[in-house]
């Protein structure tokens, strides 16, 4: 049982400390495992600090998302074969991600949150960010994809022509 008032202190990779409710951290497989590994009394207040390999700015975004999703059911549903939808992102999550669009490093922020979600083992956040990126790519031209993904073309003209020739089968 997790008591809403129980709190845990997280220390970030850049030396900051953030204290959050266990109601939020229960969504992080990494933090929950760390607490379990400490073998401390669940009733101890405060719990020992847990070090997370995430910087302070990104952790704040993760905590903002966790706060909104604190009541989500756990465990997070296992993915099935049928799950390939990307158009079912909740409105709050869409707005949460769109806020970054004003930032110059919007894509870097998304990548940082994805990496943090993976490190902290927050399946819901990883899933949402995956859908977000898939939506950005879907239906775009090759040039648009390169721009979104911030990648340079490293093919020769001959190689590109060869791939286009193969792809042409499917573009009749």
């Amino acid at each position: 049982r997790i008591y809403p008032l129980m709190r845990v202190t997280l220390t970030t990779s850049d030396g900051a400390s953030v204290t959050v409710s266990r109601q939020l951290t229960k969504h992080s497989g990494f933090i929950e495992k760390a607490i379990t590994d400490m073998a401390v009394d669940d009733n101890a207040v405060p719990l020992s600090a847990v070090a997370v390999d995430v910087d302070d700015a990104t952790l704040k975004l993760v905590i903002e998302w966790l706060t909104e999703h604190r009541d989500d059911a756990l465990p997070y549903p296992e993915k099935t074969d049928e799950e390939r939808r990307a158009d079912d992102i909740p409105a709050w999550d869409q707005a949460f991600v769109q806020k970054w669009d004003t930032k110059e490093d919007q894509q870097q922020t998304l990548y940082a949150v994805i990496t943090a979600a993976d490190k902290l083992d927050i399946k819901g956040l990883l899933d949402m960010t995956c859908k977000t990126l898939a939506n950005k790519i879907n239906g775009k031209t090759v040039e648009e994809m390169r721009e979104i993904l911030q990648l340079e073309c490293d093919f020769t003209e001959e190689e590109l022509a060869e791939i286009r020739k193969e792809n042409a089968w499917c573009e009749n």
């Binding site: 993915k79 074969d81 049928e82 799950e83 390939r84 939808r85 990307a86 870097q108 990548y111 940082a112 994805i114 990496t115 993976d118 990883l126 899933d127 960010t129 995956c130 859908k131 990126l133 898939a134 790519i137 879907n138 239906g139 775009k140 031209t141 090759v142 994809m145 390169r146 993904l149 911030q150 990648l151 340079e152 073309c153 490293d154 093919f155 590109l160 791939i163 286009r164 193969e166 792809n167 089968w169 499917c170 573009e171 009749n172």
Partner: protein, 321 residues
């Protein structure tokens, strides 16, 4: 940070959420993405098909809607038309487009040996929930058997069109749904019972077998005693059903909950010509019936041990085929 340094689990999930046409475009982004496309699973798609429409020319079932190439591969937004001499090259291309794929229902209609080989190779590392064969000739049936031999554990359904040598149907491995389209040559009761004991659901769109009252009772017994949820839908002459009802002990004035011989009347005959009966652990629903003598019309006879799901489903799926 760049996208290719993101966690592998994320990239693999991402590649399951883009469409197949998007994968084509992603191949062109850069070398790393070309490699990522080739090495990742494409995810799940509801439907797919490989069809060889030259068959249409011989049966008239399919028009010559497509010019030139004889094989068409369709999965979601991927739609490829291939000439016979392109099949080998396309096998290699498929391996560069995804490492695996999952498809809910995959329809196959092929008749040439070379295409059977192509299908076998195409389906390597594919997870198919149900293979759906459309059998329009004996050659196509042979092709289907060869493909099934390569995929022995894959559930499948088969739609049998006219011109099939019915005796060959006895060699089919057990399937989920065997559907007889209109125009099938009649089958003898012996073969029908072989099919009935082997396949889970059987739907007929027109009368295909002449059964005696005792044989009808045997059909009910087989369905009633089967632990699996099963449905059989047959078409029978109204006159024959009338005679059958009399043999069963059902009479025109029977009302709900009446016990007539081994049957219980669940819903008596209504104005729409439907009557529902229970026999042991199975239910019968006869649709399009009346007690008129000398009627030349036909009725649909649905027998199931899964009353809640099967009546509705059989009407929606079976009759629609």
């Amino acid at each position: 940070m760049e996208i290719l340094s993101l966690p592998d689990v994320f990239l693999r999930d991402l590649m399951k959420r883009v469409t197949l046409v998007d994968r084509l475009r992603l191949r062109l982004v850069c070398r790393a993405f070309e490699s990522l496309v080739a090495s990742t699973h494409a995810g799940h798609f509801e439907k797919g098909s490989i069809e060889q429409w030259t068959i249409g020319a011989s049966t008239g079932l399919r028009g010559s809607a497509y010019g030139g190439s004889p094989v068409r591969v369709q999965i979601h937004d991927l739609d490829v038309k291939l000439a016979n001499d392109q099949l080998n090259d396309f096998r290699g291309f498929r391996n560069r487009l995804f490492s695996g794929i999952s498809v809910g229902r995959f329809r196959i209609l092929v008749e040439q040996e070379s295409t059977v080989d192509f299908v076998r190779h195409f389906l390597v590392n594919c997870k198919i929930d149900v293979l759906d064969f459309s059998v329009v000739s004996d050659i196509v049936l042979e092709s289907a058997l060869q493909i099934l031999a390569a995929l022995p554990n894959c559930p499948y359904t088969m739609s049998i069109h006219p011109l099939i040598d019915a005796e060959r149907l006895q060699y089919l491995p057990p399937m989920e749904v065997l559907h007889f389209s209109r125009g099938l040559v009649k089958i003898v009761p012996g073969l029908f019972f072989k099919l009935l004991t082997k396949h889970k659901h059987i739907y007929a769109s027109q009368k295909m077998v002449n059964l005696t009252s005792q044989e009808w009772t045997n059909v009910l017994k087989i369905i009633s005693e089967d632990q699996r949820k099963r449905t059989v839908q047959l078409i029978e002459n109204r006159e024959k059903i009338r005679s059958l009802m009399i043999d069963f002990g059902i009479y025109p004035a029977a009302s709900a909950n009446d016990i007539c011989g081994d049957f219980i009347v669940i819903h008596p005959l209504n104005d729409e010509g439907e009557i529902t009966l229970r026999h042991g652990n199975c239910w019968l629903r006869i649709i399009g019936f009346d007690w008129t003598v000398n009627s030349t019309l036909q009725s649909t006879f649905v027998i199931t041990n899964n009353r809640n799901g099967a009546f509705k489903k059989s009407m929606e799926d079976g009759l629609r085929r």
